[in-house]
């Protein structure tokens, strides 16, 4: 059986401060419980609260499945979030919109040696060089903070509230496992 999460991916200056602000508000609204449990995939997350129906369209489904919590992910760098179920992320040059070949993209997403000079991704179209996270992401999103809502189908007005709490724009990634 597969698991699904809707993931809000943000790229912000201070990810921990933004995460704390959103968590405070989401707990205050009783959308999640304040004490983390094992209600998410492979980590700790915040289980559904008594007012979860103000955030999602499927509260009854969510209360009775696992995983069903709210998880905050700090990758510690800017990471590309995409569905691991076979969806293929791709990026285009921010200057000329030429797509980057898949092998090259994957090469730039691997682990980096922090003691070596950063390798830039060269555009096959215009020759511009820039860090991979400055390319335009499709079927995916670059971010340094992600809110995972496991098994939740978020209501549009709730997504708008999170945007206000975070004071930042984001991309919604549908995550399937």
């Amino acid at each position: 059986m597969s698991s699904h999460a809707q993931v809000l991916v943000l790229r912000v200056e201070e990810p921990s401060l933004v995460a704390a602000k959103v968590l405070e508000q989401i707990v205050k609204a009783k959308i999640v419980e304040p004490i983390p449990t094992d209600c998410v995939m492979g980590g700790r997350g915040y289980p559904p609260g008594t007012r979860i129906e103000t955030a999602i369209d499927n509260p009854d489904d969510v209360r009775h499945v696992v995983p069903n919590g709210f998880e905050i992910d700090f990758p510690g760098k800017i990471e590309l979030y995409f569905p691991p179920d076979g969806g293929r992320p791709w990026v285009t040059c921010a200057a000329c919109r030429s797509p980057l070949e898949e092998d090259v993209l994957l090469g730039h997403l691997g682990p980096r040696n922090p003691f070596r000079k950063r390798k830039l991704a060269r555009c096959p179209g215009c020759g511009d060089e820039r860090p991979i996270e400055d390319w335009v992401a499709h079927d995916s999103a670059f971010g340094n903070l992600a809110f995972f809502f496991w098994s939740w189908h978020l209501r549009v007005d709730f997504i708008g509230r999170v945007q206000e709490w975070a004071s930042s724009t984001f991309v919604v990634v549908d995550y399937m496992l």
């Binding site: 809000l8 919109r97 499709h138 079927d139 997504i159 724009t169 991309v171």
Partner: protein, 125 residues
């Protein structure tokens, strides 16, 4: 079958790179209104176990440009990430239609550079 032709990636239509992006419902309502578009036909594939041909329904969020029995273009809703439409097809026929769709959806059409890597990308997606 016409719908299975490999189509070149031409670009995408978006309304900014962050949420909410394009309006999915507005796109679904627009498909039957434009004479240049048709719903994407179901795809036939052979069942590897039974050997029989099977019909797989196409997503309602995809539409094709068909002329003289051939598929000349395809607009498909991005599976995830920014709400955007991917545009593939004939580089002469499809871009004007893409611009019209972008205008109707209050978005913008972004053409990719069609050369080398671009054509490779279009053929394998």
């Amino acid at each position: 079958m016409a719908a299975e032709l490999e189509l070149l990636l031409l670009g995408w239509i978006d309304a900014g790179r962050s949420w909410p992006g394009l309006d999915r419902d507005a796109w679904l309502q627009l498909i039957p209104k434009l004479v240049t578009l048709a719903p994407m036909p179901p795809v036939k594939r052979r069942n590897p176990f039974s050997g029989e041909m099977m019909e797989f329904p196409s997503p309602s969020t995809s539409a094709v440009v068909v002329a003289t029995g051939r598929t000349l273009g395809q607009f498909s809703w991005s599976n995830t990430g920014p709400n955007e439409l991917l545009v593939r097809g004939d580089p002469l026929v499809v871009p004007p239609i893409a611009r019209e769709i972008a205008a109707q959806l209050k978005g913008s059409y972004h053409a990719v550079l069609i050369a080398g890597a671009a054509s490779g990308k279009g053929s394998n997606r």
